[in-house]
């Protein structure tokens, strides 16, 4: 058994400790060690964005981050977006209302990337949205409804 590392990090606002092999990626840690399967594997080369997480405020591909690297960092995943059992995050709500998902495999990545965008730029233009989401591939929707949903969510969060 490869010698494991003890890592402490903050996941969706909660302190978590885990043991992982140095070669295990953050994606493996989230999915196989911690059981958080929201982040998906699409390519393992950082090209598809299905495993997007927010690491210290910036979007990262969990497949390109090693488990031990998240020591002391703040990680946000799709599982942390809805704050309680009755209310979704506006982005989640708008994705539903706009039918912005079909198979749904890329949805967690898009939601996380979109949240990172709105956290830093609350009033993005369509081009800014498309630019910010260019790292996330979707093969079902043609992006049309996704972009609409993100713009609408931004408007709602702005109270417009």
């Amino acid at each position: 058994m490869a010698n494991k590392v003890l890592v402490e990090t903050t996941l969706n606002g909660e302190t978590v400790e885990f043991l992982c092999e140095p070669r295990q990626s953050l994606l493996e840690v989230l999915r196989d060690v911690l059981g958080f399967t929201g982040a998906k594997e699409g390519c393992l080369t950082g090209d598809c964005g299905a495993c997007s997480v927010i690491m210290d405020g910036r979007v990262a591909c969990a497949c390109l981050v090693l488990g031990p690297e998240v020591q002391g960092k703040k990680i946000e995943t799709v599982e942390g977006m809805a704050k309680d059992g009755e209310n979704l995050h506006p982005l989640q709500q708008k994705f539903l209302e706009h039918a912005a998902l079909q198979c749904g495999i890329c949805t967690p990545g898009f939601l996380v990337a979109a949240k990172a965008l709105l956290d830093r730029n609350p009033k993005p233009t369509e081009h800014e949205v498309r630019f910010a989401l260019a790292g996330n591939l979707c093969r079902c929707t043609g992006y049309d409804k996704i972009v609409h949903a993100v713009m609408d969510a931004a408007a709602v969060m702005q109270g417009r």
């Binding site: 299905a50 079909q102 198979c103 749904g104 495999i105 890329c106 630019f131 591939l137 049309d144 409804k145």
Partner: protein, 756 residues
């Protein structure tokens, strides 16, 4: 039969899909999310050669690695006889299936599976795979259809003989089959033409590009029963295929369909399931296999590249007088390209008296092709629709007007022969003509040349077998169970159909996609069939439930069932005393009225309604770099009856995006050794949201007379027109006719240069 004038209360609305919250919260369980106690992880060793004989395989070092629990090669498969067996509505050759799953004596393409390992961690399995020693004798390979058809071409499968050939021959060949459709008299037809256009086209092999890689988790039980969790388009199809290749009864396998992250036809065949099952049988533990993106591209089923020749003649009036097509499709390493569909679709939008279409299914050293959204139709349309555009241009007729003149309508004979029932092709042409897009002038883009193109597309759509049960809950709501994996929102459409029949809200019906033991046989999700055929079964099952509800009410009222009517969720009694009850009330009384109510239906519906689409696109071409930008895109389509318009639009927008990728960027690139060089999303470029504008959709509803609600399949046809439409737009922009897919910057730049 279709209730054309029917006023729908639920059908046509846009409720939030029932599986939505699970998918936006990350709770939805996809195949790769399945985890079981003691789970082992498997990896596959794949061929580095395009064509080679396997002389020996030595797995001893791999088996000896600590943590490795099982290693399998094709020797672990049962010996099978070659021959086609019917599989539901499909036909398969179990031997070829088995040879594709794990190479027997030869590897036939780069990435062909050779062995598989199960270990306690994916990393150990990876190490172990590298320790397997395989001795190859490399053989000459062939990857281009026309070279593969040559007499002296290297032969992939010695036992293949051309099926469908006019006369039987015993010659070894790579031509697996041949089809011809012919009618009228070509010579007469071309003589009658004032203008004839003939061109040759080459299109590249492309992949469906679903974001979720193939996966399978298998648990083999000591009593011979097995369970497989997998993301598949057909749980029953996967079960039957596994049964065939492993030589065990299909029913001893239970397939639990996980959520599926895209399929587009590519997740109908099996790749990992039998390997996981064998590894589990050997190790006694559950085994999980998940493909890397590289494996998905190298070793699953893309759609064929093709060589197509199209010759058409038309008279001054703009009427097509004759059309001749010759097309050869790459089958990949085993027979079975969609060339038949290509032949049947390529001229389908038009009313033709004199035509001949020849198609060839050709083996090449590339992965065995699989279905991809309207399989065979898109590259075919690239050929026909650009030639049509050239005819229209040369005759100085508006391309949409040209299609109006020649367009197929009810009663027109298809190229394959049968006459169309009510179809909406001309309506889509009209809609495109009257669209805000087509009426508006071309935008200007500084430094770039702009052009507008149009193209049409056709797809048959499928019927096939489906089962459904509809159960009434004690609070008067209902559940719908089907066996159709949901790849595009079909859970929502099935629930809405049941809600419509039962007079409930869409939210009051809970749809479930069940495993192969919990619902009757249901063919795969594909051919745009689910909302049509499974929806048909749901409709019938809901009617069955309604009839039982009437009987129950009749019992309560001591009336005859035929005296009871059910409408909008209310049962009422027509004779003596206008008694009536809401479904909610009746549901509460069922325990004392004969018990619960469950409706069921298993169907194989006929009356499939084909789909037509016409697209308009504006492009901007950079004459220096050859880069093509999509400025505006409008898709019109006959959708029969849109059950949930948002998801119909979604199907159209998604397909257009795939068509744009096919047109401009995507291609399988093999080097001289026959090795795939762009086996990742970095080099195999699928469109991102930066590559696309908003995609405007126009839904035309020409109800399908063969369906009680008028439903037609909508998912596939919208991928057909984009490449041709874009090629036509490029011509209008820079005056060159592109005849190769993808129309990537270098090719466009070269064409522009040659013209100068």
């Amino acid at each position: 039969m279709a209730t054309q004038e029917a006023k729908f209360k639920v059908i046509g609305t846009r409720p939030i899909r029932h599986d939505g919250v699970d998918k936006v919260t990350g709770r939805a369980r996809y195949g790769a999310d399945i985890n079981l106690p003691g789970l082992l992880h498997g990896k596959v060793l794949r061929s580095p050669h395009a064509h080679a004989r396997i002389k020996s395989i030595d797995v001893s070092a791999a088996a000896a690695l600590p943590g490795v629990k099982a290693v399998i090669t094709s020797a672990d498969f049962p010996k099978l006889k070659s021959g086609v067996v019917p599989l539901g509505e499909l036909a398969m050759n179990p031997l070829y299936m088995s040879m594709n799953l794990l190479a027997h004596d030869k590897v036939l393409y780069d990435g062909h599976a050779v062995a598989a390992v199960a270990a306690t961690s994916p990393h150990i399995a990876e190490e172990a795979v590298k320790l397997i020693k395989v001795e190859y004798e490399v053989l000459p390979h062939v990857q281009d259809v026309r070279s593969a058809m040559k007499e002296d071409a290297p032969i992939l499968l010695p036992d293949v003989r051309t099926s469908g050939a006019p006369e039987k021959s015993d010659k070894q060949t790579n031509i697996a089959s041949q089809v011809r459709f012919a009618r009228g008299d070509l010579d007469v037809g071309f003589k009658a033409a004032d203008i004839v256009v003939e061109r040759e086209f080459n299109t590249a092999m492309v992949h469906q590009g679903y974001i979720e890689p193939h996966n399978a988790v298998a648990q083999y039980n000591a009593d011979g029963q097995a369970t497989i969790w997998t993301s598949t388009q057909g749980a029953f199809t996967a079960r039957d295929q596994c049964g065939l290749v492993l030589g065990i009864p299909a029913s001893s396998i239970k397939v639990v369909p996980a959520e599926i992250g895209g399929g587009f036809g590519g997740k109908i065949p099996i790749y990992l399931e039998p390997l996981a099952l064998l590894l589990s049988k050997k190790s006694g533990k559950p085994v999980k296999l998940v493909m890397s993106r590289g494996e998905v591209l190298r070793a699953t089923g893309p759609t064929p590249g093709s060589h197509i020749r199209v010759k058409m003649g038309a008279n001054k009036a703009g009427k097509i007088t004759a059309a001749q097509v010759w097309m050869a499709y790459e089958a990949g390493a085993f027979p079975g390209s969609p060339v038949g569909a290509g032949c049947m679709t390529i001229l389908a939008p038009y009313d033709l008296e004199n035509l001949q279409i020849d198609g060839f299914d050709v083996l090449v050293n590339k992965p065995k092709t699989a279905a991809y959204r309207a399989p065979g139709a898109t590259n075919a349309a690239m050929g026909a629709e650009t030639v049509i555009d050239e005819l229209a241009e040369k005759l100085g007729i508006d391309p949409l007007e040209f299609r109006r003149i020649n367009g197929a309508k009810e009663g027109t004979a298809q190229p394959a022969g049968p006459k169309y029932l009510r179809i909406g092709y001309l309506e889509t042409v009209e809609a495109a003509k009257n669209s805000a897009h087509y009426k508006s002038p071309l935008p200007k883009v500084s430094g770039k040349l702009v052009g507008r193109g149009v193209a049409s597309g056709f797809w048959f759509n499928a019927g096939f077998q489906s089962s459904a049960t509809v159960n009434i809950n004690t609070d008067g709501t209902a559940n719908v169970v089907t066996g159709s994996p949901d790849i595009g929102g079909s859970r929502a459409s099935c629930a809405m159909i049941a809600a419509e029949v039962l007079g409930l809200k869409a939210e009051e019906v809970h749809p479930v996609v069940a495993d192969t033991e919990s619902i009757g046989h249901t063919d795969m999700t594909g051919g745009s069939r689910v909302t049509f055929a499974t929806g048909y079964a749901v409709y019938e099952a809901a009617q069955d439930a309604v009839n039982q509800l009437k009987q129950r009410a009749a019992t309560l009222w001591k009336a005859k069932p035929e005296e009871v009517v059910f409408q909008d969720g209310v049962v009422s009694r027509t004779t003596n005393g206008q008694e009536s009850m809401s479904l909610k009330e009746l549901a509460g009384k069922l325990p004392r009225a004969g018990g619960p109510v469950g409706g069921r239906a298993s169907v194989n519906p006929r009356g499939v309604g084909p789909a037509f689409a016409t697209h308009v696109v504006d492009v901007a071409v950079d004459p220096e770099t050859g880069k093509v930008d999509i400025l505006r895109y409008t898709a019109t389509q006959d959708v029969g009856k849109a059950v949930h318009p948002s998801y119909v639009e979604g199907q159209m927008q998604g397909a257009v995006a795939q068509g744009v990728g096919w047109a401009l960027n995507e291609e399988y690139f093999y080097d001289e050794k026959g090795t795939l060089r762009n086996a990742g999303f970095l080099d195999y470029r699928v469109p991102t949201c930066l590559d696309l504008p908003m995609i405007e959709t126009i839904l035309i509803e020409v109800p399908n007379p063969g369906h009680p609600i008028g439903i037609r399949g909508v998912g596939e046809v919208p991928i057909v027109p984009p490449p041709a439409a874009i090629a036509n737009a490029i011509y209008r922009a820079v005056g060159v006719r592109m005849t190769e897919l993808p129309m990537s910057p270098p090719k466009v730049a070269k064409a522009v240069l040659e013209k100068k």
